[in-house]
Assembly symmetry: D2
Homo-oligomer: 353 residues x 4
């Protein structure tokens, strides 16, 4: 049940709804509605008369199962990662190495990706590897290097957390906590992240439906953390030519269903360096709020995922071209008269001359 409460309602109204939920043994969570008011999602039904309170604008008994993640409760939300907004209309690039290898190499890469246009640094300290015999990441040392790189370049950092017990540790170093594809339905981890003070980047399970994905986001939201960004990173397909298939259909589909920002990861989404650039552009054209890309100064020597890792120079090209795509769509969308359109087309053509 969704209860919408007006901006100017008395504080007693929210309190009454929350305590009624408790009295009925139902979970309840308050989230901002993006227009000054709040919404309370109740995990069940309350009697209608209880909700006859000043400032209650509306009550929905029928709604999406992911009620707090749904576009039904509020317009598109913006999530702050440090001082970088995601979802405010300007695409954001998160970039960096698959795995943190050393402090020096991370700081070198961090400078390079910042120069190439990234505004958030990524790097793995705890690495989920298919083999127990593969390099499992530097662990807390990696987190320390990440913090050092943040200090050096002034960009916020995102890194993966693999289990509930790591949440506090990782949150003490990172600006954003990443949930990997294999953990999308790790519900104890999601609940713990719901009580963290940092935003969460929730990757889609590689064979999760959109509804399952939004339900995983709902676990985080329902546990009290409203700052969730979704990340499409490729689904399992039948063609062995591709490691994974970046599934861009979910970008506009999620935009119709949820207020949460969504980014795409063309590195894991394709598994192949030469496809990253075009799929990054396609992701932005599909409406994504940003990109996550694996970058290494010398991809062939990267300790993991080298085959899908690009250079800082490649990233600069993606940033430049991606920005152009984004601005062109905004410009063309806002041009309504045929005359303007011709003008636009002419100007764009002139730019290529």
């Amino acid at each position: 049940m969704i209860v919408a409460i007006a901006a100017d309602s008395p504080a007693s109204t929210s309190a009454a709804v929350l305590s009624a939920a408790t009295a009925h043994g139902l979970a309840a969570q308050t989230v901002p509605d993006g227009r000054g008011g709040t919404v309370i999602g109740v995990g069940g039904s309350l009697p209608p008369d209880i909700l006859d309170l000043p400032g209650v604008n509306g009550v929905r008994a029928i709604h999406k199962p992911y009620m707090l993640a749904s576009l039904e409760i509020r317009p598109a939300s913006t999530v702050m990662v440090g001082d970088v907004p995601i979802g405010n209309g300007t695409p954001v690039i998160m970039a960096g190495p698959c795995s943190i290898e050393s402090r020096e190499s991370l700081i070198e890469t961090a400078h390079a990706v910042k120069a190439a246009g990234a505004s958030i640094l990524r790097g793995g300290a705890f690495k989920p590897r298919t083999s127990p015999y593969s390099f499992q990441g530097l662990g807390e040392d990696g987190l320390k290097h990440l913090a050092a790189a943040r200090a050096a370049i002034g960009l916020p950092v995102v890194t993966e957390v693999m289990e509930p017990d790591q949440v506090e540790l990782v949150a003490s170093y990172a600006d954003m906590l990443q949930v990997g594809s294999r953990n999308m339905a790790n519900f104890p981890l999601l609940k713990k992240l719901g009580r963290a003070a940092k935003p969460v980047l929730l990757k889609r399970g590689f064979s999760a439906t959109v509804e399952e994905w939004l339900m995983s986001a709902e676990y985080i939201l329902a546990s009290g953390n409203p700052n969730v960004v979704l990340c499409e990173r490729g689904i399992r397909g039948f063609d062995a030519m591709f490691r994974f298939n970046l599934d861009l259909n979910v970008v506009p589909a999620v935009k119709e269903l949820s207020h949460l920002p969504i980014i795409v990861d063309p590195s894991h989404g394709t598994g192949k360096r030469s496809l990253v650039g075009r799929m990054a552009l396609a992701g932005l054209a599909a409406g994504a709020d940003g990109l996550m890309i694996e970058v290494h100064p010398d991809p062939d020597r990267a300790m993991c995922d080298g085959a899908q890792t690009i250079t800082p120079a490649d990233l600069a090209r993606i940033h430049r071209t991606g920005l152009a795509v984004h601005v062109a769509i905004a410009a063309a969308d806002s041009a309504e008269e045929p005359a303007e359109i011709s003008l636009l087309a002419n100007d764009l053509v002139a730019l290529t001359a």
Copy 2:
């Protein structure tokens, strides 16, 4: 085996290779190499000494199984549909109704899609329908309406052919012959199309690998028709929210492997009207040479596929925005100096003001 023959070689060289292939019981097919010379694909191995001929530039014994479709033999090819080129760097839009319903409605739609930016008219006369009890298309009457619409608007037309016996009939009316997804591996049909004088639009089977798809193109090329355009139209996925999943990864992947042009069909590729626009833009950003889109003046009354059909006004918006995306990418790709990039970004931003 691939035999490359120089532009200025004596005619006797090609003739000698072809007759040697015949003498060894091997299929052989000549195709232009895009640089004035020719390439002969031989379906097996010839003894090396036979190929010691004037003008033989090179012989490859190891090559892709789709040797005539491969980028190994020539640079990107352009296919002419009537007077409309596909693959020359400017994206092309094919649009029109799923099914031809009447002469009047087709001509009305044809005018509308032309005004909205389409340069090829599509419309189904022979319709592959899952149910034997569904409308199966107008058949030859539909082809006549298509020819009438072409006469009325001056655009070339593309329509589906479902069986070998229809090829001549459909080719007598249409400018391009479409092979539907369910027929991608209908080899008798592909062989017959290899002997047709019209270009072929080869849709990807909805669970075909890229290699299987290019091998189907190879059937057409090996039978003598060099004019094949590929069309990605969505693969089968696991999320019932989507009718099909438009798989844009294949666009840059095909560009690395084949010289054939490739377009995308976001209508079948998503099955949902509201996703068509963004996925069309994403397709162009991924590098597609064009789009195929189902358009109807009143989509909710279309005789088939209404749920994925858009209006002419929607198409105009896709055309305008898609052109902007295409030009922006070209412009940004060609800008190499930081100064130019800033200028470009500023100009693009100015256009939105």
Copy 3:
């Protein structure tokens, strides 16, 4: 609309329904109901008063879209292939080479598979091959060899037909006409087979849903041929370890939905020789009415599909063990008292001693 007509109804009743359908422009087809009466499937709705006729037992307006293939109209049907029944409770084995290679080798294999327990001989004359440069089958010569093998061993034969124009030719030689996976939705071919006098083996498209498969059967039934046997042959999966994934779930699922017999093909369904035996047994345990298996005296020298082909000795083992599985299930199913069950278990254990 389904119209059920009693066994003892006047002939005028069926005639009246059929002519009413014609008058309303609707397709209609009569099929036996398995209990002496008939069912008429009408591809649309007739006014109720027209159906107020003697002997009309029931009219269903709401039914499965595959009305003639549905279990709603009759109990399980048995299809005769020559004198071999499929669907009568005893599993049938179809076996033979992927591709017919020569008259001698085919007859040799035919004797071997008969001795190993097969009751129908399979062999490909027209072969759908991914590459235009691969061996495409012996064509009509292959059909002649097949007829010679039938004469030599006295078993009926099944072979693939790839296009509408081949139907009459193939039907003049073979006892059963096979539709390959790639042609499951080749509707012109299905319609033509609906007018053939021979039973049809309809393989499931490798990414077709059960409903799409039954709709393809419906095309054949609606065109007048009631003798259709379904064949599951593996779906496309995500694990490159398997060429295809035999999907046995469809066996009991089809049994709940349709009266048509269903067999399984563990050769194509796995693509790997060592998996064929166990998956054949699993198919019978799942309830299949038979098996189709590729057999060659020397699998490693087979002209196609050697990797999934087994020897006659392997087949004999599958036949023996498969029969045991089938009989054991029947025996255990019919044992209702605990005493009988123990007896059964003891007897079965004794057999292994």
Copy 4:
């Protein structure tokens, strides 16, 4: 690197290999080879001269990536769950409710499934649910009920563990620890289970490849727990008719690659009650070492997964028929002479009379 050590080697040999591995910074784990000796898996390469020790039978540098799970190191292993062996040739049934609902209902169900032939009781205390608003299981109270049911019926119990911190708690109550499909690649959980004293039931991720699955087993083995049983429980497919697709191909495929026992779960594997029985039989015919089945006295009132849950009477029928299938295969496999085969067939037919 795999180091095989003879049964009668001096203890110093194993110790030397393990300390050499430590000195080289490599993980190493000792496992029994099933023939009295041991195998040491080393996560990397040791210099050959170090391994020139008494009792070292062989060293493999090239092996499967899942070296400890591989059939390369030992024959099929048997895992004990309490006093019930899995993998010794007699199929085992684990049955019980999806979710533990109360002590009374669990004990009632436990008695019923034991009477129906189950030898291990299953029941969920910690439930991974797609929605945060769904019933999440009784938690530790559920574990206490499970222990009470074990005391009441004398069968060992298996239940799911969802996070590393739960391992000790769950292991203090249960005889076997289940890893759910969504956690197959939860590596911190797998490592923790590798240090538990109870056997582990490792469900396949619903889109995991066989190799990924065996690598997850390897995580447990490499952490020191040799008692792992695999469980196939259905993969994600494209046909919305099925919740999941039980993929029996992996049963014989795993038997070729690994010494670990494997069971199948036709309840989750189909999601549909009416398909469970036949798919259970098919699983056993495919060679599975056992079944896991959801059973409830009143499936339509089960608190979760009712649609795929069967009654104790259904289970008794599966047990009886499954045993018959298993014995029939063993009997037919061991019958080598035609005379014996006929006798078998006759005896089996007689049993049905």
